[in-house]
């Protein structure tokens, strides 16, 4: 099949509102956005705490989280697989090859990104605010919510970086989810599969949708951030 034809077929597939395609897109977004939410809930306070806390081993943790930003998705997938497989320590939960397990794997991938970038944002803000906040009697613990809120515009970018990682990766969810049609098949795993099968139209269609969603989300976040920043200074 020529790429021209594949492209035309991809567009008509998207326009046809194909149910299988819709399900794949829905699951992809559900998994990545849930993983993003979990990671943000864990990563924002953890990153801020890491920025402000002073304890032995802090430098090691900072380096470790920075390094984990580069954790290869297949390795994350393998680790979660070993934990969740029937003979693994968490095998009794029985969620391997389910969307839940995929969310766990993606959270493992995104959390270090959110922790590290949040730590940097909050550390920079603390440099600016420290004297004033300490003068007002704020403890470092009390400063965490203050700085997270004041860093909200920079943290939007942090969240987007996390979403980008989740929506783009294929290695972890392929191992953990198993790419089961109609159940754990996502855009990226489907693209990998359809390309190897030679169904370039579906693969390309999914690729276009994935790029479009990513673009729209980023544009929306950027616009929201800019408008909010204008209003809030």
């Amino acid at each position: 099949m020529h790429e021209d034809n594949a492209f035309t077929a991809a567009v008509s597939l998207i326009l046809s509102g194909d149910a299988v395609l819709g399900e794949i897109v829905r699951l992809s977004l559900a998994v990545s956005l849930t993983a993003l939410l979990v990671s943000a809930i864990i990563g924002l306070p953890l990153g801020a705490a890491l920025a402000l806390a002073r304890f032995p081993g802090r430098s090691f943790l900072v380096v470790a989280f920075n390094a984990l930003m580069g954790l290869p998705p297949v390795v994350a997938g393998l680790m979660v697989y070993l934990m969740l497989s029937r003979s693994g320590p968490l095998g009794w939960i029985g969620i391997l090859f389910t969307p839940s397990a995929m969310i766990v794997a993606q959270s493992l991938l995104i959390t270090p990104i959110i922790v590290s970038l949040t730590r940097q944002v909050v550390e920079d803000l603390w440099g600016e605010y420290e004297e004033q906040l300490r003068s007002l009697g704020s403890t470092r613990l009390q400063a965490i919510p203050t700085l997270l809120w004041d860093g909200r515009f920079s943290l939007i970018t942090t969240i987007l970086a996390g979403f980008g990682r989740a929506s783009a990766e294929v290695g972890a969810i392929l191992i953990i989810g198993g790419n089961i049609a109609g159940y754990t098949r996502t855009m990226t795993t489907a693209i990998a599969l359809e390309t190897s099968k030679g169904d370039l139209a579906l693969a390309l269609g999914l690729g276009i949708i994935l790029l479009t969603i990513t673009l729209l989300l980023n544009a929306a976040a950027y616009a929201t951030g800019r408008i909010a920043q204008k209003v809030a200074g």
Partner: protein, 241 residues
């Protein structure tokens, strides 16, 4: 305004602050009595700002001590506040900046809000209440920082060159606020480079040079008959180093 109990006098004894083995504040001792306006003067690098920070508890002295009414400094609800050269405003409304500061003193949200509104009304800042604090002018931000400090009801207010980045109108407004604070019974300890300002505001002058106190003199006397040669040179605008 604080009943009979007072944290004053403030007493600094043998206060020394070293960075990399160099004494930037070098064995200084002084006492600040209740109700006075003391201006710390001296050339750049004399240790003025460091002295304020040591008194306020932002820095720990290398040697020596700061005691309040005879008791060693303890954390807890502070009864002294500080206004900095560049006010740090949070990215939220002017009003929210005040309620944030008050919430750190364990005021209930309702008390914090009424106190914040009271402070804005007291200093004619009501129309700024809903505006984002970060996009106010430098003068408005500094007046807001002053109102924030006032809202905390401190017994002592430290001011570190509060007007050095402001235009004359804003400077005048801040000076008026300092006078109002003092009239409310607050004790003032501030640094300034501005001789005219020192003459307008000071009850007494603490003159620092190279980390040491050269004199602590009533203001009128300081400007007419300074005791130290360095202070005389400083008042005459001669270069000091």
């Amino acid at each position: 305004m604080h009943g009979s109990f007072s944290i004053l006098p403030l007493r600094a004894e043998g206060l020394t602050y070293n960075i990399a083995g160099r004494a930037l504040v070098d064995d200084i001792s002084f006492e600040i009595a209740r109700g006075t306006r003391t201006i710390i003067m001296g050339p750049n690098g004399a240790g003025k700002s460091l002295t304020l920070r040591l008194c306020h508890g932002l820095l720990k002295p290398t040697l020596g001590s700061v005691t309040w009414n005879g008791a060693a400094y303890t954390e807890g609800r502070k009864r002294h506040a500080m206004v900095f050269q560049r006010p740090v405003m949070l990215r939220r409304s002017a009003l929210a900046n005040l309620t944030h500061a008050l919430s750190l003193t364990r005021s209930s949200p309702r008390d914090a809000l009424s106190r914040a509104n009271e402070a804005l009304a007291r200093f004619g800042l009501v129309e700024l209440a809903r505006r984002p604090a970060r996009i106010l002018s430098g003068g408005e931000q500094q007046r807001l920082a002053m109102a924030r400090a006032w809202a905390l009801d401190p017994e002592v207010l430290f001011l570190d060159e509060p007007t050095s980045a402001l235009d004359p109108t804003a400077t005048r407004a801040v000076e008026d606020m300092i006078k109002a604070f003092h009239a409310d019974g607050m004790t003032i300890l501030m640094t300034t480079h501005d001789l005219g300002q020192a003459q307008r505001l000071a009850d007494e002058v603490l003159f620092l040079h190279r980390g040491r106190i050269l004199e602590q003199t009533p203001a009128k006397e300081f400007f007419e008959r300074p005791r130290s040669d360095a202070a005389r040179a400083f008042i005459n605008g001669e270069l000091l180093w």
